[in-house]
């Protein structure tokens, strides 16, 4: 193995590891707090990418606004006072010809993902919280939700691939004669920052402490006056935002299509099982480990065999450590 190959493997391993970490930490957080497993998490990744694309790209919202803006600017003279008010709006619509850019697209996508997560929680999860066998019912309802969103997006946007603009443009970074794209570098750097922010939020903010309190013991959390239902909702929204971020990163690397969330979600399953559900440090270590294992086995064997190695590892881990490599005994 040449040093270039090693650098390339590490770089791509860190990129996939970062994406898995963003997804799996959300899954793990929800599992630890709400005790539910969200199979629609992959669909939220896809929603993040699509909403980012829709706002930022000229083929999205901007394209829809063009005829509307044209209509307003040409006819506003006949509309009196209303026309005077609407005219600048129409001009603004026309000026957005090239899309709104990622500066607008990314924050809007994040907000939208939070909203989508809230809707999923209210419709598919909240009605079952506290009922017997709820964790298994929620698997079914969230799978159905994921199917609904996937197919819905296909109806809305068609099967043609989309792509997000790259955030950083420019020549790739050279590390030991190996070229690493700037987008990849950005992902490798931004993910740990996000995860550290998440950690600070959980450890030092009042809401974060409440999330951890509910995760540890929801009855006692209720006793000290924490609104457990609100914390469940909040956790779910945080997790959805993390998924959305993963989608935005993924959308800048690969093509955006309705099923784009399925593959990373499967990897995230492997990760959470590997790292133990509900343990955030375990999940993050597991993500990077899985990313590196996957990329090196893709190099050593082939692209086809890498996932086989991965799933075989997962099955073996589950046989010998049924609660994950780092998962402790459940009380």
């Amino acid at each position: 193995m040449t040093p270039e190959a090693i650098v390339a493997i590490i770089a791509s391993g860190l990129v996939s590891g970062s994406l898995y970490a963003l997804m799996a930490s959300g899954l793990s957080l929800v599992w630890g707090t709400v005790r539910m497993f969200n199979f629609a998490h992959g669909a939220l990744v896809m929603i993040g990418a699509y909403s980012g694309w829709y706002i930022s790209n000229r083929g999205g919202l901007a394209k829809v606004l063009q005829p509307l803006g044209k209509n307003i600017t040409t006819n506003s003279a006949d509309w009196g006072v209303l026309g005077d008010v609407l005219h600048p709006l129409g001009e603004w619509m026309l000026s957005a010809k090239g899309g709104f850019g990622l500066v607008v697209g990314v924050p809007v996508a994040i907000v939208f993902c939070g909203l989508a997560g809230y809707v999923i929680y209210v419709l598919l999860i909240r009605p079952f919280v506290g009922k017997p066998g709820a964790d298994l019912i929620v698997i079914i309802t969230t799978i159905a939700g994921a199917s609904f969103l996937q197919n819905g997006v296909q109806v809305l946007f068609g099967p043609r691939y989309k792509q997000l603009d790259r955030i950083l443009k420019g020549p790739p970074l050279e590390v030991l004669d190996t070229a690493i794209g700037l987008q990849e570098v950005l992902i490798i750097v931004l993910t740990p920052v996000t995860l550290i922010l998440l950690n600070l939020f959980l450890k030092h903010s009042k809401l974060g402490l409440a999330i951890r309190a509910v995760a540890q013991n929801d009855d006692f959390a209720r006793l000290v006056g924490i609104n457990v239902n609100q914390i469940y909702t909040l956790t779910f929204i945080v997790s959805s935002i993390l998924a959305g971020l993963a989608g935005l990163m993924l959308g800048g690397l690969f093509f955006i299509l309705p099923t784009m969330g399925a593959e990373p979600l499967l990897r995230a399953f492997v990760v959470v099982v590997f790292g133990g559900l509900g343990s955030l440090p375990g999940t993050i270590i597991g993500s990077y480990a899985i990313g590196l294992i996957e990329q090196s086995s893709a190099y050593v064997f082939s692209l086809y065999w890498a996932p086989v190695v991965l799933f075989a590892t997962l099955i073996l881990v589950l046989i010998f450590r049924p609660r994950g490599l780092m998962g402790g005994e459940e009380s």
């Binding site: 599992w31 497993f37 419709l123 598919l124 009605p127 079952f128 964790d135 298994l136 019912i137 698997i139 079914i140 309802t141 799978i143 159905a144 939700g145 994921a146 199917s147 609904f148 996937q150 197919n151 819905g152 296909q154 109806v155 068609g158 099967p159 099923t259 399925a262 499967l266 399953f269 492997v270 959470v272 099982v273 559900l277 086809y304 065999w305 996932p307 086989v308 799933f311 075989a312 997962l314 099955i315 589950l318 046989i319 049924p322 609660r323």
Partner: protein
Amino acid sequence: MISFIHANKKALAVVGIVVFLAIPLVVDNKLLIHLAILGMLYAVVASNWDLTLGYAGVFNFAHLAFFGIGAYTSGILTVKLGISPWLGIPCGAVAAAIASVIVSIPAIRLRGIYVALLTFACSQLVLLLLLSQPLITGGQQGLTGVPQLQIGDFRFRESKFAHFYLVGLLLLCSTVFLRRLVTSDFGLSLIALRDFEEYAIARGIPLARQRLLAFLLSSIFPGLAGGVYAHFLIVASPDIFGFSLAILLLSMVLVGGVATIYGPVLIGVVMTYVSELMASSAWMSEIFGVSRGPVRFMFVAVIIVLTMRFFPQGVWGLIKQYSARSRMTEPAEGEDRV
């Protein structure tokens, strides 16, 4: 009404069989017959899924893999080795049974969500293995040129009766087998393990053995159905392992009624009609344009969520509830054991 059914079981069975045999004589629409065959195959898979999902209470997401393994085994054996489909189909069932044992060995050690994750991973692993060997399995395009069923010079695809009767017989055997199984001591022990695990174990029911048997017994008929499916459509495609088919079959089990067997059989056929006719009907294409295929899966998803939310007992569960209420006023008789 239920007491009337109980009193005239045999007569009703005969009437049912005669009506069934007459269907292809009366119905002249090729599409409807095709969908009936497809629906009955799906009904076999869905009702067997009910054994692990409903009766054993095990979240087995590898069930469709058994169906797929049956299809691919029979397909590969007939295409690559040239053996007769009539031998290939039972081989598919054997392969599915072996796979079910392999999956169940780690699965019976796990609980709740981990079972779901493991079985999900197993079914994906099977798919990935199939895709990684395109020379044998045809890869992403699927295995084409699977021979059709024939007896002597009689080709099944040229007759509208042959597949219909064959699959009907398969569904009948599968349903009788499942109903006998779930009302037997074995079936009762599965229910006991599902509802009162600790007590059932204390009463001496071997948890691991019963669950392993549940996996094994639920894989045989889907394995057979998979083989018939491949020879009926003359292709074995990786779509079998896809998300969409899994959702469709899951909806059959849930809407039909978990732990009823009859429910998934009935709704299996109904859902196939509903979803396929949605995909081919003219008014749907007028509303949704060319992309009406996805719309039916959105519809199926909504149905699933509504079922889980408002009538988790499913259609057959509702029928049973209703009949139990009406039976209160009548003298008790021939009580169903489940």
